[in-house]
Amino acid sequence: MGALSVAIGSEAAGVRSYTATSSQGLLYMAEAVYNASGLNLPIVMTLGNRAIGAPINIWNDHTDAMSVRDAGWLMLFAETNQEAVDLHIQAFKIAEATKSPVMVCVDGFILTHAYERVDIPSQEEVDDYLPPYEPEISLDTKHPQAIGTMVPPEYFTEVRYLAHKRQIDSLGVIECAGKGFKEKFGRESGGLIHKYNTENADTIIVTMGSVAGTIKDVIDELNEKGGKYGVLSIVSYRPFPNEAVKEALRSAKNIIVVEKAFAVGIGGILSQEIELLMKDSNCEIKSVIAGLGGRAITKPMLTEYFLNNAKERTTFLGLKEDIIREEYKPLNCGKCK
């Protein structure tokens, strides 16, 4: 709460500002999250993705990020430690060009606490890619302005509509930032999506974040034995790259969405977004909820799932059925039969 609020103040006073949070910290600052985007402040924030309690749990999943998916921030998911570094550099460029805050989502522990060799660009290289910050409005004694006034019903819809338009327009800016980054640093990092063997795949696994690496390993093995699998990982979760995703999923007969969060009482969140996007196609879409609260997502678990053609729309990967049998009693009001 306090941390993001300090960044709101410093950004509003015209200085490039950054903070970081995770899990409960994100929920504690939830109203400041909405405030930063509503005030068009291009703050960059790292989110070390972790579960939300109760039950209290400190490990990785995406429930924290999903809880603020409609808050008006741009949300980028890193697949590797190197991409985490690179996305932060791109994030300032994207934020300042779109006047939107950017959340760089980095899987808690799996990426945040992993040792991996990364290339950290020099200050000069970054300065060359990212010009000095020129705020459009700020707290200036020579030109006093009010920031964050109350907006009555006469104007509120327009403000929200413009935020919507601006977020959709940001798709181009994110794509462009990734291209510019490759030109400057010679690496593929960021952009809207990452495609892996999607061109001729029958089955495409859609996912976000670091688990894409494990999934690529699994499908490499399956494809060696004649399988036709591909992986699509979403980098830009907000704005959601509808057209790019649709194009990447063009050849798919089966889509399996592997995600680390879900909406209680409904099911997978990313799954629903993919279902809506692909509603006019004939492909079969399955939802796999995996890795909740740091449960390991292993190659054997994924291999078994991919080969076994699950019938259920939604599967909780690695669910311990014996515990559920013991603990689950169907609810009944006492009158219904």
Binding site: M1, G2, A3, S5, V6, A7, I8, G9, S10, E11, A12, A13, G14, V15, S17, E31, A32, N35, L39, L139, D140, T141, H143, P144, Q145, A146, I147, G148, T149, M150, V151, P152, Y155
Partner: protein, 323 residues
């Protein structure tokens, strides 16, 4: 006759800057405050005084509440200074960020004010306020204390005084209303943080208010000024009585004026002619249940004790002898 009745015959240094032709009017007229609003008066005097003392180089961070709602509804804006509103509970932290940014830009001459009502200060933003004090950030925090959530319909805050009626502490039978608390004393909490400067002020003594704000604004580090601002709507008195009510609070000792530096009280404003709390209480409908047929006999004594304690603790009885 005491000097407080001398009006415009006061010596030059005792005349409020607010009465001068060159006052900057940082909170311009046309805003939507209620008639007789003590907070609007307090804010105009405080921000004008800060503006003058900082040579016009101030920026204001405003918490959610009456002041924010009545001064700034798009597309209108009553502020003549750079102003930002973020949330209800994060005002001190936003001000920390603004001050850090000005420091980063080499603009330490631009002084930062955070301001809010008692709900924002003593309840919702208390954590961020304590953090700002603890870090000794270069911010002047001003609390306009009207002793309840007036904007939403007079609900109790932790600054609501003992026995006061609010929408959520109605007197029922022998139960007197808000007898749970004597009000959270945030000026004393600020003093306990040992920040460079803490003061209480009142719209019942504008020259004193202006002097304290003008002094605070140019001190480096965290400063806190707590201003007593009567609310005609919430307290129940005619809109012409705001300043008189504020003065009665000062004269009975229920609102002591003092200054503290680095954790020590260094001075207080003596009361010329101390009055009993009854004169203050009778003038407000929120205390009406303390009088009349069904009143609990010793209720007023509770408030008189609080006033007596203040008078002793802050040595306010300069004008009369203790007996």
């Amino acid at each position: 006759m005491s000097s407080s009745t001398m009006g415009n015959r006061l010596s030059k240094e005792n005349v409020a800057f607010q009465s001068e032709a060159d006052r900057p009017n940082t909170l311009t007229s046309g805003h939507r405050a209620c008639q007789g609003c003590g907070e609007a008066l307090g804010a105009r005097c405080a921000i004008d005084a800060a503006f003058k003392a900082a040579n016009g180089k101030i920026a204001v961070v405003n918490g959610t509440g009456c002041l924010e709602v009545f001064s700034c509804v798009y597309p209108n804006n009553s502020w003549g200074v750079p102003w930002i509103h973020s949330l209800f509970g994060n005002t001190p932290a936003v001000a920390t960020g603004v001050a850090a940014a000005f420091h980063n830009q080499g603009k330490d001459d631009v002084r930062v004010i955070a301001q809010g009502g008692d709900g924002s200060t003593t309840d919702i933003g208390m954590g961020c306020l304590s953090g700002m004090f603890d870090r000794n950030d270069d911010v002047l925090y001003i609390c306009y204390d009207n002793q309840a959530y007036m904007n939403t319909g007079v609900q109790r805050s932790s600054a609501t005084p003992a026995l006061a009626r609010t929408a959520t502490t109605l007197p029922v039978g022998s139960y007197l209303g808000n007898d749970a608390s004597s009000g959270k004393n945030v000026p004393e909490i600020a003093v306990a943080h040992k920040i460079p400067y803490v003061a209480t002020a009142s719209v019942g003594n504008i020259p004193d208010l202006e002097r304290k704000v003008a002094k605070a604004i140019n001190i480096k580090g965290a400063k806190y000024v707590h201003i007593h601002v009567p609310c005609p709507l919430g307290w129940g008195f005619p809109t012409s009585e705001t300043v008189r009510i504020a003065r009665l609070a000062l004269k009975c000792g229920l609102f002591p004026l003092f200054e503290a530096e680095n954790g020590e009280v260094v001075g207080s404003t003596p009361i010329d002619d101390v009055i009993g709390v009854e004169d203050y209480l009778r003038a407000q409908r929120r205390f009406a249940h303390l009088f009349g047929k069904n009143a609990t006999p010793d209720a007023i004594g509770i408030l008189q004790n609080i006033a007596n304690t203040n008078i002793q603790k802050y040595r306010l009885s300069g004008g009369v002898s203790d007996d």
